[in-house]
Amino acid sequence: MRVRAWFSLTRASIMEFLQFRLSALVMFLGNIIYLIVIYNLWKAIFASVDNGIVNGMSFNDTMIYLVLASAQFTFMEAYLVWEMGRSIQSGRIVLELLKPIPIEQYKLFGIEGGNIAAFVVTFIPTFIIVQVITKGAIPMGINLVYYLVAATLGMLINFSIDFLIGTVCLYTESTWGINIMKQVVVLFLSGAVVPLAFFPDKLRALALFLPFQAIYNTPLTFLTSNELTTMNSIKMLGVQAIWVVVLFVLAKLFWHLSERVITVNGG
């Protein structure tokens, strides 16, 4: 069974993540600085309105959303595009192609363990801190289970997009520009930097139509919204699931078409 290999890869990537304690600490500090910046930024924005509500969100709502979004970023972002670009440039990709496992599975389970480890190390503490400071602003119930499912699906969507973009590196042989572009587009349209509620109507409609919002907006909605019906929740997860299937198949297809670039014209 291939499940054993999946499990083994996940296990190894958790261990790899834990090897780099210092890098986790630096990531944590960087995150704090980011939070200080957005705290002051949003404070200024909310200071300019009278009733303390912008687009239906209070300052507290917004901060909770953004803190959780940045915590989610630290466990979800695996820098796969970087990794693939480097492995293509250095020729290491050849060794990965010569494993008896399809490369997308090899990559997925090779980074997913890191995601899980980072979830435990950064997201859970952040979650607890937010809950304590706000004296229980995050609803605690079935929505937490929804969140876990939605975050997993969001992770798979994020992976598929990264894999798709990483494949482009086969053609361009450079990573920097592509990665920056991907980062900006995904983070913005997913609602990781600015909550979708603040988007102009047309842009929001567009964002809701695209897969990116299913990475951050959907899972975070389960944590921040009090008014979700079961029907709505399941619908949201369904949309995510559809995106996972569509994007994963697309990524796989695109890779297999692009593989010819290596096999025909060498690395």
Binding site: S8, E16, V94, L95, P100, I101, T263, V264, G266, G267
Partner: protein
């Protein structure tokens, strides 16, 4: 018969963009459709029997790695047929991967930050090795090299030698019928090289693994290879066993002389100057022979074909011309044989070219 690898008139061409010079040229390249075809491998055929260690040799850029990549299935041949373990490798790369092991020189397939044993455990699950086979293999490894003390060491903390050793063991772990070793001893010290050669030999014997080895180190060839294939500029120059190779050039001897009393006083420039003098003298006396000259540590060497011109004749001629303090005779080494093969093919090509340009 029992062939594990079969290549039938395999060609591999690459399309390369014709780059232009300068800033203007670089801009032009952005939109250029001006490709040229580079033939990396031309009409290569070979059949390799199970259990042999084959030395696949050639100068840098000869097409060795390209051939190996085609055999592993990472590259698709432009023309011709390849069968590895009875499969077409590039069509069944993933299933072919189960039946081969690879070590690519400087690149490691091990998990960089994890202890070695974790990489082995991972490979065990990736290649679906049964518990028993895995245990047996580790027991075999432990009987061959001192690997046990490396198990808990993270790969990134290993020396190059330890890492290469580990990488070779990782490639053999799932007991594949074929293992490709691309320059496994590059950059290693003498004792580590010997260790790795012994290991490869032992694993080949124990498991009857076919090993395809590319190297620039003739020590590897002498110690390991039963058969040698030489390739240069994509074409095969030689394919036979190593005994043949030496017999083929058996009449060749190396004459080494020293014309200075003290070897240490000779600077490199002086040595080259002296070599030029010897060259011109010998060449004018024996014009129809192609000797190969060299100098090393105060010695001047002349490689000559003893069946064409008697070595003693050359020596006595030189003795008339200059004072010789010391003389040595050497049978040809594998290294000089291979050097000779490269140079002969080079010369033949030049002659062909000259003839073509004469005709036109």
């Amino acid at each position: 018969m029992n062939s594990v690898i079969e290549l039938k008139s395999v060609d591999k061409e690459f399309k390369v963009l014709n780059r232009h010079e300068g800033l203007k040229g670089s801009f032009r390249d952005l939109f250029s459709r001006d490709y040229k075809i580079v033939e990396a491998v031309k009409n290569v055929s070979m059949t390799i029997e199970a259990g042999t260690i084959v030395g696949y040799l050639g100068p840098n850029g000869a097409g060795k790695s390209t051939t190996i990549k085609m055999m592993t299935g990472v590259l698709q041949p432009t023309r011709g047929e390849i069968l590895v373990n009875g499969r077409v490798p590039y069509k069944n790369r993933t299933s072919n991967a189960q039946n081969i092991g690879v070590v690519f020189g400087q690149r490691s397939q091990l998990w960089w930050s994890l202890p070695l044993i974790e990489s082995f455990k991972l490979l065990k699950d990736i290649y679906k090795i049964s518990d028993k086979d895995y245990k047996d293999m580790l027991a075999l490894y432990e009987s061959l090299v001192d690997i046990k003390e490396l198990y808990s060491k993270p790969v990134r903390q290993m020396s190059l030698g330890q890492r290469t050793l580990s990488d070779i063991l990782a490639a053999f772990l799932h007991n594949p019928p074929i293992v490709f070793l691309d320059e496994p001893t590059i950059g290693l010290d003498v004792s580590m090289k010997a260790k790795i050669r012994d290991l490869i030999k032992a694993l080949n014997k124990e498991k009857n693994t076919t090993v395809i080895l590319t190297t620039h180190d003739m020590g590897d060839v002498d110690a390991l290879c039963e058969r040698i294939i030489i390739i240069d500029k994509g074409t095969m120059l030689y394919d036979n066993d190593i005994e043949h190779l030496r017999n083929f050039f058996g009449a060749y001897r190396t004459l080494k002389i020293r014309t200075n009393k003290n070897t240490e006083v000779v600077s490199e420039e002086e040595a080259n100057e002296q070599l030029e003098i010897i060259k011109s003298k010998v060449a004018s006396k024996f014009p129809d022979n192609d000797f190969i000259y060299g100098t090393e540590e105060g010695w001047y060497s002349i490689l000559l074909d003893d069946s064409k011109i008697h070595l003693m004749k050359v020596l006595s001629f030189l003795q008339e011309q200059m004072t010789i303090y010391d003389v040595r005779l050497e049978e040809i080494s594998t290294e000089s044989v291979i050097k000779k093969i490269y140079e002969d093919s080079e010369r033949m090509k030049k002659q062909e070219k000259a003839e073509v340009s004469h005709e036109s």
